[in-house]
Structure formats: C-alpha cells, structure tokens
Amino acid sequence: MFLIVCPYCKESRDQNEFSPAGEAFIARPQNPEELSDDEWSDYVFYRTNHKGDHWEQWVHTNGCRKYFLVKRSTISHEILEVAAFGEVTSENPS
C-alpha cells in the first residue's frame, strides 16, 4: 500500500491505479539465433528477486497507461526513485 508518482502524469497517486510489471532492465536478446538454451531460460524465467532496493517496472493502468521504472525497497516498500524509460538503464542504475 503506497503512493507512486507517475513520471508522466507528475502526480502522486494511489498504488491501486498502477499495476506492477516485473523486474526492470530485462532486455530481449539481440542475437536470438546464437543463444543457448540456458541463456534463453535465464532471459525468460530466471529473475533476480532481489531483497533490498529493487528496480522494477510499473504501468499507470488507470491513468496514462504508460510503463515506467521504479526503484523500490522490497523490504520496506519505500519508493526511492521513479524514472521514465531511458532516464536510467541497467548500465547506469542510480
């Protein structure tokens, strides 16, 4: 139960308006033909499931319907950062 600031709507709104959409920075492989079964499996099924500060995706389902990135503690649920796609990347997570 928390409030999320949508980076597009720029408003603090109830979590009920949003839907979680999984771990962030999981990019579809550029070279699908060359991937081994293990690498595909990791991409499709394996997750970090990090305990602590975790980058994830949310979608503003009942608002602007856009996806964005959230850094949230999976221990306290505290939201530490919100960003649009491209503002932070897997190479450059804050």
């Binding site: 009920n16 394996y46 997750r47 499931n49 999976t74």
Partner: protein, 416 residues
C-alpha cells in the same frame, strides 16, 4: 525429555499437575553434520524427519533463523487437498495426502488433521467444464473427486448464497471428501519433535549468512552461530529461496510475493467444510477454535515485507461476502502476510543444482502447506540418494531450460 506421548503420560502429567517436559531440546550446533537443512519450516522439518526415519541419516541439523513454526508454516490457511489436474502434480500431492492420513500416529503428535472436504466452486460454464475435466483426471489418478451441482452445495452448506441473482452465481463445484485442514503450527512442532527424537538437531535463532562452495562442491555454511560443515545442504527457505541461492552464486526461477490471510473472532460452528473459489478469489474454513480462516491472493509486486496491500484484502472480503452474505457483520481479529516464492508454472522445484551437494526445495508458491509431508519425504530421498525421488523427477529445475513445464497455474481449481 519425554520420548513418547500416550494416554498414560497424559494421565500422569494431568493428575500430578506436573510441568510437561520440553518437546524439543534447545541445542547448540556441532561443527559438522552429514546433512544441513536450511529453513525450519514444515517442509524443512519434514525433510529432516524423513532423512532420519526412512534414509537412516540422523546426523542432520535444521537451521532456522527465527523460531519453529514462525514463518509460512504458521501463516497459511491450512487447507490440504490433492485434486490437482496434471499427473505430475496430482501424484505428488496425493503422496502427501496419504502421509497426512497417518501423520498423527506416525509423529506421535496430534496434528489435528480433519478431513472435512473441500469444495472448489465453479461460477461459469467454462468453470464447470474445467471442473469436470479436473475431476475426471483426479479419478483416473486414484484421487477421490466428484462434481456436485448448486443444489447439492446448498444442501450441504445452507448458508452459502446460490442465488441466480448473484454477481457470479454458483453453478456447481468439485468436491474432494478426503481433503481438509490441519493445525499448521502443530505440524511444525510434531515434525520437529519427532525428528529431534530420532537424533536431528533443531537449531533455532541461527541464520545462515553464507554458503561455502569450493570447486563446485558445497562445503558447509556460515551462520550467526558460527561455521558448520556438511557435504550436503538442502535449502527449504520458501520466500527467501532466492536470497539463499545467491549465497551459492545461483539464480532461481522464482519471485517472492506477499500472500495475505485473516481470521475472524471465534464463533459457534457455522461452516463444517472448506470452500474455495478461483473465480471470485477467496477461500474460507472455520477452525476448531471457531474463527473463520480466510485466504486472499498475492500482490503482483515483489516483496519480502510479510505484509500486502489493502486492496487485496478488500477484494477477498468482497468475494467471501458474495458467497456468504451472513458473514457481513463478522468482525475480523487479525490479518497478516507471508512471503511466498512463486515459480512461473506455479509448481515447485525439488531438485539438485549446479553446485554438487546443494539441493533446493522451493517455489511452492501459494500452496505449500498441503504438501508438507510429501515434500519433505521426496526431498529427503533426493538428498540421501543424490538422485531425485521418482515423484520429484518432473520438478527438476532443468524444466525451465527444457521447456517441460507443468502447466498447473490455472488448472488447479484454486486461487493462485
């Protein structure tokens, strides 16, 4: 320590008004064991018990970071059933069911297993088709199951709302008569005491902080009570499985979510069976103490916080009131969350890993309690023989690479 409870020991302790002996001794860890089990929940304790009882390995330690029965084992809604659709899942849960049926005698501890039946409700024509398919599959697999219509449900459970004017009218249900509930923390205590009697060390308040791996082989664990060596380590840490896996440099195909439940004030007997609905998403039974035990669904986001969102509680309460309008003025007593590790196919992982001597039993998601004895049993054999028990074979972690997933997610007739 009292080795065996009996009518005589009850009479003696009762008449003499003497204090009962402690059920589980408080022990300090030794420096080396044959097998270490990480996680003193029901599944971990059951694993240790069957290692000692059926595999002849008694030099076993169960390491629990909190206290016995303080995690998901003491947080679930205690429903036990085996009416799963897929052969792999139904064989495993039915194995567990058969162990439940003799468990109190086996453990010399009353786990209050009560076979009061489970109704899985159907609210649409498609629900009913799925239910018939599942019941047929159950019967072919030797699992008791019948399809009942809404009239029969109303006869059995007069307080249920079978009105055609309901938002999601009840059309029928599957019924498994051998299903039921058990005293959940009693299950942890029973397994702990029985394992302890066979020589297993149950070590509470002992958190594993690292797993030692050398040349691809497990060597032991570092804990808050010092280093402990073992050539074989079984991880049964439910919601924290990914955290434990990371200590050994492994990733798992699970994500941790909060799952909530709540209980009402104690009332006189009003509901003699278990009612579950996948479509409206709620399940309810009445404990022997008299409180309604109500289970909700998971939150979609990852969490280790043992609490979930209010909207999930609201959604579940709405579903229960839809089914049982009479409960509208029942006051809720407590509400809590547990952390469940959910696999992409909603089936567990009972498997060796890429690290030799390291085994994982995880991914039970929202429905692990019913599997407690069966899970411990097949995992014990898997560890003891370094080879998966035949019922555990389909649950190898490699299924996420081979693609042989067990598609039980929507098929179990249950709120997942």
């Amino acid at each position: 320590m009292q080795k065996k409870y009996s009518w005589y020991s009850l009479l003696k302790a009762g008449l003499g008004n003497q204090e009962w002996d402690q059920a589980i001794p408080l022990v300090k860890p030794k420096s080396k064991y044959d097998v270490i089990i990480i996680g003193g929940g029901g599944h971990g304790l059951a694993t240790a018990y069957y290692l000692a009882k059926e595999c002849g390995i008694t030099n076993v330690a169960v390491l629990e970071k909190g206290y016995i029965g303080g995690g998901n084992t003491g947080r679930n809604t205690t429903i036990i059933r085996s009416n799963y659709l897929r052969d792999e899942a139904s064989s495993l849960y039915e194995h567990s069911m058969r162990l439940w049926e003799g468990l109190s005698e086996d453990l010399n501890f009353n786990v209050m297993f009560s076979q009061r039946g489970v109704y899985n409700l159907g609210h649409t024509l498609q629900d009913m088709r799925d239910i018939e398919r599942r019941v047929n599959a159950n019967v072919l697999n030797g699992v008791d199951a019948v399809v009942v219509d809404h009239k029969e449900i109303k006869e059995q459970i007069p307080i249920i709302n079978t009105s055609k004017n309901a938002r999601y009218p009840i059309m029928g249900a599957s019924f498994q008569a051998r299903a039921g509930v058990a005293r959940h923390d009693g299950v942890a205590w029973g397994f702990a005491r029985a394992a302890s009697n066979l020589g297993v060390d149950i070590i509470q308040n002992c958190e594993v902080i690292d797993i030692e791996v050398e040349e691809g082989k497990v060597k032991g664990v570092k804990t808050t009570l010092g280093d402990i060596m073992a050539d074989r380590v079984g991880c049964v840490s439910a919601g924290h499985s990914s955290v434990v896996a990371k200590m050994a440099g492994l990733r798992l195909p699970v994500e941790s979510h909060p799952l909530q439940a709540f209980v009402s004030e104690a009332m006189k007997p009003i509901l003699h069976t278990v009612v579950m609905s996948n479509a409206v998403h709620g399940y309810v039974s009445q404990s022997d103490k008299g409180d309604l035990v109500i289970g909700a669904g998971i939150d979609g986001y990852n969490s280790y916080a043992q609490r979930g969102s209010a909207k999930i509680v609201e959604h579940c309460a709405a579903a229960i009131l839809e089914l049982f309008p009479i409960f509208s003025r029942v006051r809720m007593n407590r509400q809590w969350g547990g952390i469940v590790d959910v696999c992409p196919d909603a089936c567990p992982v009972i498997s060796p890993t890429k690290v030799e001597g390291l085994y994982f039993n995880c991914g039970w998601g929202t429905g692990g309690f019913k599997a407690t004895p069966g899970s411990g049993n097949v995992f014990a054999h898997t560890i003891a023989q370094d080879k998966q028990h035949e019922l555990a074979v389909p649950f190898h972690i490699d299924r996420f690479t081979s693609g042989a997933l067990i598609d039980e997610h929507g098929a179990a007739g249950v709120a997942h």
